[in-house]
Symmetry: C2
Subunit: 339 residues, 2 copies
């Protein structure tokens, strides 16, 4: 049964997840963002960053890696800039606090940027950036991650596949969402291919010696999109997330898996909100973005049965399906959450 | 002789370029940023965006596309946000004005973002972002461009290979510079391969029907890095450059070549400055970035004779060489500038 996937409604996942976090003595105001972020992400079909992470997080709380009862703080250093100290709690909680402050700053100053220091894993960046879009703003969200990206010209990894995310409001539709790591495949997808006995397409991963492979069991490094360009994007994001926040950078970023669950992760994130109304009419912006997306979707398709999509379209489709039918959850994860 | 490449010192290029712009009745305060930007870019080895563009620009002035005597304006709408109206002059002039305002806003507010509307081609984004780094800030610069990027799942292009650029100060070295379009090859490099009779590596370009090709003569579309990821980056940049500024977007962005030189380009750009001191100690930031870059360079190289590089390293090498030996310029370009 643990090897099977079961389908659970979002409400049932929320109830059970909240109980599991409460049983681990996570404070209620911390539980909310964690469970909301995970279920939102699962509903969008991003299973790698959804509810399946909950048992790992709870192990982190029990081991001491994640602080369930933090004393978070915010310091505004300039009209448009501030910093959140996460006190080692869940990145979902510290990140949403930071984005909330960025939105406040942007309302006043036209734009707001808030760094987060002493944080832990924060899940999908799109969740935070959507909060800005809901306030009529463009949201940008960045985090660094475990080093996995093979450096061009080297045989090993230095940076993580640090994502870039931009979300913006659209008229008559959920926001436009671009949220992409700097590699063509994530390590979680590699693991899934290994478990399913599949071979990977060429050009995606390398083994521990930096040699390209299609065997997911041997994959240790991920190849950056566009070679040095994906590598450079990773470095750019690390400059924002590690160097502006005072956190460890590059190959000093802690590992998510395979290290003691008592070890603090010391992650940094960077959030930005742009108040659209400071630049142009918000309704006009949202209408133009909707038209732009529809124009892309109306482009001639190579295969008529597969229309051209804009970033975020697959997630909107998954959301509609999963709100109706429920979220597929690995049996072992559901078992751990509910036991 | 016009087919040969001649090597010209930066000073000689500057003198002749200034005279050529003055002869086209370009105002002196506009001449300076144009010529400084072009020569700076050529010295860094980015020939596609360097001095070779000058004859094209002068044709634009003569045809009416580019305004040589503009009435530029800046409106600050919020403490951290403003907009420059370029009045159809050179993007080098309007962009540097905008970045100057972004730096001023960031000094006061911690961060500044300035859009540019009614602009024309602006050359390399890194030139503007360096201006922020020289003031102890992180500079970000974006522009949209002629549609050339094949949309995933479609057989034609919708967006340009809209670049993402971040520059940040480093201790004891010129700033870190990441400046990358969203395709693995630029159309200028495709044209150069065609002229040299070379075949392109697979996976870079497509023909007018959207079919992948290695023949540079047939190339019409550029493939995005990481498929939908590069495509999404292009859309993200267009949201900032077209939708925030009120300029035409996507496949409505004007063509640089092959259209009447009397047609205004109506381009938009987006510039951002982040005051590092609002986040952390500037000296510590610059020292850590230098150490990070040196750590990347010290990573084990696949080929010992080719050390691992960070973005911007090839340009620093070109700069040292060209400051000493001069800038290689196609004979026909030099002839047009000096005639």
């Amino acid at each position: 049964m643990d090897n099977q996937t079961i389908v659970v409604s979002a409400d049932a996942l929320r109830d059970s997840g909240k109980k599991a976090l409460a049983a681990a003595h996570v404070r209620e105001d911390i539980i909310d963002p964690v469970i909301n972020g995970l279920i939102w992400t699962s509903l969008r079909g991003i299973d790698s960053h959804g509810i399946r992470l909950l048992p790992h997080y709870i192990a982190g709380v029990k081991g001491g890696r994640i602080n369930p009862d933090p004393n978070m703080s915010f310091v505004r250093s300039s009209p448009a800039v501030g910093m959140v100290d996460a006190d080692h709690t869940f990145g979902h909680a510290s990140g949403m606090k930071a984005m909330g402050h960025a939105i406040e700053l942007a309302r006043e100053s036209g734009m707001g940027a808030v760094g987060v220091q002493n944080s832990s894993h924060c899940g999908a960046m799109s969740w935070f950036a959507h909060a800005a879009a809901q306030q009529g703003m463009i949201g940008l969200a960045f985090t660094h991650a475990t080093p996995r990206v093979k450096s061009p010209g080297s045989n090993r990894a230095f940076f993580g596949n640090n994502p870039v995310c931009l979300v913006a409001p659209m008229h008559d539709e959920e926001p436009f969402c671009f949220d992409a790591a700097t590699t063509s495949i994530t390590f979680n997808a590699v693991k899934a291919a290994a478990a399913a006995g599949k071979t990977l397409p060429p050009g995606l991963v390398a083994d521990a010696q930096g040699i390209e492979t299609t065997d997911p069991h041997r994959a240790e490094q991920l190849l950056p999109i566009g070679d040095y360009k994906g590598f450079g994007l990773s470095m750019m994001v690390d400059i924002l997330c590690a160097l502006l926040t005072g956190m460890p950078e590059g190959n000093k970023v802690s590992k998510m898996f395979g290290e003691s669950m008592s070890k603090k992760r010391l992650l940094g994130h960077f959030f930005c909100a742009i108040n659209i109304a400071s630049f142009t009419d918000l309704n006009r912006f949202a209408a133009r973005l909707k038209q732009m997306a529809d124009n892309v979707r109306a482009e001639p398709a190579l295969e008529p049965s597969r229309p051209v999509m804009v970033p975020g379209d697959p997630e909107k489709k998954a959301w509609a399906e999963r709100m109706e039918k429920g979220v597929p959850v690995p049996g072992i994860v559901w078992h751990e959450i509910t036991r």
